[in-house]
């Protein structure tokens, strides 16, 4: 039964024509145009359904009966189509219709005589293929002539019409051509040309094109809103039908071996099922759920997932992603105002043509938005025949934009939301605008919040930096010693040499000896200035703001580095420093500067807690995949009532001027930013205090640490 494809192509054609015909009629059964189309569809369906029965017939008489019935359908098709076309292009052509009806009557009267179809016989693998009678040739000529005539009418109309109508005509033309090319493959065998009607299924192609024109170009004024389901269903039927046809055809080509055919179809199914599924999902996306995106869903997603985000980058990217996903638009972009450059830059985008597009103040689009706070909807402007200035056109092209909405906050345009065409090619409706405009307003608030938050973060980082500098300022004794002393010594060496020379104290020395002496002094001067330079470098390195990037950090080395800064001061206070770093301790993956800052603050705090005479012990060890760093002092300890306040900003026990109180507060922030924890491990009044810092062991990947 290899040739099953052929009857089933008829069945699919019939189903598709019926479904669309019924749908069109149901949308507006009073409209003559819709009735005309429905009538045409019924004719096609009648033809195709009988075609199916004929090919499925097992007996000579049944086959002959049904092929005759099939051809009755065929008689009606050109007339019905011409009627639809004339309705569509609004031409009367009264006499043509009369002529058509007259011919139909004649053909109908003779349709069951052998003059039309003599008999049926075996042709190729069709057991009951019709043998034409004399009248058939006339009928076929009429059929072809009628279609050519209808095409001509459409063609002329296509050239004449503008806009939507032109598009509608185009699709009907495409559709009808496809359909008839498919249908015509039926007639080769009538004339004993051994080409079976392989393309018969293309008759359904007409349905697809008409469906597309309905959706895209409001063909027959059908409101697409509801019936995308139907389009999807018919598309599904067509795709599925084609698929079945292919497998049946495969079986027919490898006639006699069912299992091989089955195997091949299985392979094809396995290979293509994914693609077909994707195709269907895409189609569904495109037609079925396109316009009816769920407003509730959009609102819910934005209120719960998007608008609450405080990271600006994440917020704008989420906005673009969620909008394109939910509203199903081709492209989207968020542009925000850059204070420095005084222009709007693309901050997040999907599918736009030119990322570098900027909006500058005096430009037409912004002036328009500044003044009206209104949106720009390209299709609406087109509809109202408002020409779009080139400057604006250029921007919408670059942004791939259809709808541009300003994001306004307190009378200020803080950003621009650019939305591309919908994937369905439908225009933005008033309903869409009713939800998108307020959304843009809310977004403006959220973006402004996020910007403020970024600002706050920056202010915090600045506070941390100021704190660091303040702490360095209080290091004066140590710094003075470390920098000024070498310089003083260098100066003194030079002064001594010059004064000795002047006072004649080198008189007894030979020139060579003097040069040797001078050389020695210069070497000392160099050594001292190097000393001063080294400490300056260390200090300025420490004072620089961190880069905000984590790196592999060796604990031992950093403890030494920090001790280099505070060591002298500690020695002045007779504080011993004890470093107990576990051998082979794993490295940390943190911001180096920030880690130094943490150590510096803890050690310095310890020093201040001790005051005079004591010991600071820095211990580092690994335990359970974590690294523990303890800074222990033999200082005054922290009274119980102060423990709770330790990490509060501005809490300090130091004398006025000695500390701003931000120390531990900032230390905690910095530690947490680097993925660690800090807490008071132990304290006892009069005995000392231990602070503990925990870090995870360095992972291999690079992690961005915020400043």
């Amino acid at each position: 039964m290899g040739f099953l494809y052929f009857p089933y192509s008829g069945l699919i054609n019939a189903a598709a024509a019926l479904v669309v015909g019924f749908f069109v009629l149901s949308k507006n059964y009073k409209s003559p145009l819709n009735r005309a189309y429905a009538f045409f569809a019924v004719c096609v369906a009648f033809w195709a359904a009988n075609y199916f029965i004929w090919l499925m017939s097992k007996e000579y008489t049944t086959a002959l009966f049904f092929i005759r019935l099939t051809m009755i359908g065929a008689i009606f098709i050109p007339a019905a189509f011409i009627y639809f076309v004339t309705q569509f292009v609004e031409k009367k052509r009264f006499w043509i219709h009369v002529f058509n009806i007259a011919l139909i009557v004649v053909f109908l009267a003779l349709s069951y005589s052998p003059l039309y179809i003599q008999r049926v016989e075996q042709r190729l693998f069709f057991p009951f293929w019709p043998v034409p009678g004399i009248l058939f040739h006339f009928m076929l000529a009429y059929f072809v002539f009628g279609l050519v005539y209808a095409h001509t009418i459409l063609w002329k109309a296509w050239k004449r019409e503008e806009g939507t109508k032109k598009e509608q005509i185009k699709y009907i033309l495409f559709g009808i051509m496809t359909g008839f090319v498919g249908g015509c493959t039926n007639y080769f065998l009538w004339y004993n040309i051994p080409f079976p009607p392989y393309l018969n299924i293309l008759v359904s192609g007409f349905v697809v094109f008409v469906a597309y024109a309905i959706v895209k170009h409001q063909l027959m004024n059908i409101d697409v809103l509801i019936k995308k389901t139907l389009i999807f269903a018919s598309l599904f039927a067509v795709v599925f039908g084609m698929f079945i046809s292919i497998t049946l055809l495969t079986q027919s080509l490898i006639a006699g071996n069912r299992f091989l055919g089955l195997a091949i179809s299985s392979v094809i199914i396995i290979l293509t099922v994914r693609r077909i599924e994707n195709f269907l999902v895409n189609i569904t996306d495109k037609y079925l759920f396109q316009k009816k995106y769920n407003y509730k869903d959009l609102l819910k997603t934005f209120t719960t997932e998007v608008l609450t985000v405080l990271e600006l980058d994440k917020l704008v990217n989420l906005t673009v992603d969620k909008l394109t996903d939910i509203v199903k638009m081709r492209s989207a972009a968020v542009l925000l105002f850059d204070d420095e450059k005084q222009q709007f830059n693309v901050k997040a985008s999907r599918n736009i043509n030119d990322l570098s597009v900027t909006l500058v103040r005096p430009d037409g689009m912004l002036t328009f938005m500044d003044e009206t706070h209104g949106y720009i909807l390209v299709s609406e402007l087109k509809e109202k025949n408002i020409s779009i200035p080139d400057s604006i056109r250029e921007i919408t092209d670059k942004l791939n934009a259809e709808l541009i909405i300003p994001m306004v906050l307190h009378e200020d345009v803080i950003g621009v939301l650019s939305l591309g065409k919908k994937k369905s090619d439908e225009n933005y409706s008033q309903d869409d605008l009713d939800i998108l405009l307020p959304l843009a307003k809310t977004l403006a608030i959220a973006i402004s919040n996020a910007e403020l938050f970024v600002e706050l973060g920056r202010a915090q980082a600045e506070a941390s930096q100021r704190e660091k500098l303040a702490v360095i300022g209080t290091l004066s004794a140590g710094i003075n010693h470390e920098i000024c002393n070498p310089l003083g010594i260098a100066r003194g060496q030079c002064e001594a040499f010059l004064l000795n020379l002047k006072d004649g104290l080198y008189k007894t020395k030979t020139d060579e000896e003097l040069i040797e002496k001078a050389k020695g002094i210069m070497a000392k001067v160099i050594k001292e200035t190097d000393r001063a330079t080294a400490i300056t470098k260390k200090l300025s390195g420490f004072a620089k703001p961190s880069k905000g990037e984590a790196e592999i950090v060796r604990i031992d080395k950093e403890v030494d580095e920090v001790f280099g800064l505070v060591g002298y001061e500690l020695r002045l206070e007779k504080i011993e420093f004890d470093k107990r770093i576990q051998k082979d301790i794993p490295d940390l993956f943190v911001d180096k500067k920030q880690f130094q800052e943490v150590l510096f603050n803890l050690i310095r705090n310890a020093g201040q807690a001790i005051g005079d005479k004591g010991r600071i012990t820095v211990t580092a060890k690994e335990e359970d995949g974590k690294i523990f760093i303890d800074v222990q002092d033999t200082g005054a300890g922290i009274p119980e009532d102060k423990i709770k306040l330790l990490f509060n900003p501005f809490f300090t026990t130091k004398d006025p001027g000695k500390g701003t109180g931000l120390g531990l507060f900032i230390v905690r922030q910095v530690v947490e930013k680097n993925g660690g924890k800090i807490y008071l491990k132990d304290t006892k009044v009069g005995e000392g205090t231990t602070f503990r810092v925990e870090f995870p062991i360095a992972a291999k990947e690079r992690v961005k640490v915020s400043k």
Partner: protein
Amino acid sequence: MTKPRIVAIDDEPEFIDMLESYFGLRGYEINAAVRGVKGIELVKEKNPDVVLMDLKMPGIDGDEVLKLLKSMSPSPKVIFITAYDDGGKTKARLLNMGAYACLDKPISSLKALEETVLKAATN
């Protein structure tokens, strides 16, 4: 007139070296120590006219050393040279306790230091 004898106590050998290269050539008897305890022994041994010392050195306390030196007989003049600065509080206290002078480190010039030493010795 014989030049005053000096004992210098400072934990920085480079500083001592500078003092020696200046005062030594000019006929001063200058002895130096980099450790406080050693310095006190040196003072006891050499009985200098002037002691130049840093105020803050590991393991030594300026106040105590000053008391100790003042209690000696004859007691040397003590000139502190220090980078330590607490707004003049310590300086005032030391001067009160009988220190001859407190100079800032780094010293502005060796010549000025020499003048102070000479003045101290003749006083």
